[in-house]
Symmetry: C2
Subunit: 152 residues, 2 copies
DNA sequence: CCTCATGGTTTTAATTTGAAACCATCGTAT
DNA sequence: ATACGATGGTTTCAAATTAAAACCATGAGG
């Protein structure tokens, strides 16, 4: 599961997380978890993937501390899979993925699910990256800075 | 390359984009492209992946309209790979991934690259999702709404 | 007990990945 | 012209991963 990571990536902040969720299914499992799914069978039914693969993915998500198992819930003797704090931290990423998908993978008039404010049912705004002073910044306004103390 | 997508996913807005960038390398290529890399050899050197794999990934990114080739630049007879509008649309997603990585994949004192405001060198703020009225909303404040007209 | 539902693991085949070798094109020096 | 190195790939083949299906374990209900 763990892939070798090149030099630059060890401190890059992008490659490391990809090791945890960088495959097709893991993010979909997390999304389903956000939608309230908890049981092995629910995930399998929703995603339609082989049970061994789901098993492996859940194991990986558990190993990375993105999900955890909780003993019961409705009295059944099985366990449930729920997001940890770390897993819930993926919310902005999923929103970003969803908004990108809406922008470029659907026809303007094509129906798709919408992320809405639970309070009033209105769609949420677009994600915006802001600088310390509050300016909205895009790619061209930012740069990456390497850590001052040269590690490695 | 194209994976079968279950019913719910066809309109979900998350699964579709994953088909385009849902593997380990593609996002790293895009990140490198944001960092200014353009040439086949540059990507290969930076990422340290096999040439055939890089070739396949670039082909896929081209096919999905995330990158495009431009004929020259510095006079050399080769082509360069640059992000399209669609590709640049991945910026928020990469920021989200990076911020999640910073939060959970590095020790508090561990060195890592930082995304900073080009204007003054200060780190950017965290991504925040806001409702129409400007409230910052989290997972629990939102829900997904299926399209009213039942498609399929 | 027998049987069913749930939640997996094992087995086996197909696909994907990766390393290395090979090849094509252009620019340059001879 | 022609050898040669740099760049940008493709082909080949072994190894790892994924997927489908069969199998197994546990507890609940009859």
């Amino acid at each position: 599961m763990a892939k070798r990571v090149s030099h630059r990536d060890s401190i890059c902040g992008v490659a490391r997380p990809l090791d945890a969720i960088g495959d097709w299914w893991s993010l979909l499992i997390v999304r389903d978890a956000f939608d309230g799914l908890r049981r092995f069978g629910e995930f399998q039914k929703s995603l339609g993937l082989a049970k061994n693969i789901l098993s492996a993915r859940l194991r990986n998500l558990l190993a990375h501390g993105i999900m955890e198992t909780v003993p019961a819930a409705d009295g059944s003797p099985y366990q449930e899979y729920v997001l940890t704090e770390k897993g819930r931290g993926l919310f902005p990423l999923l929103v970003a993925l969803r908004q990108w998908g809406e922008d470029f993978f659907f026809e303007p008039d094509e129906a798709h699910v919408l992320l809405v404010d639970r309070k009033n049912g209105l769609p949420v705004r677009r994600l915006e990256l802001r600088a310390q002073d509050g300016r909205v910044v895009g790619v061209e306004d930012t740069m990456v800075r390497l850590p001052s103390a040269s590690a490695e």
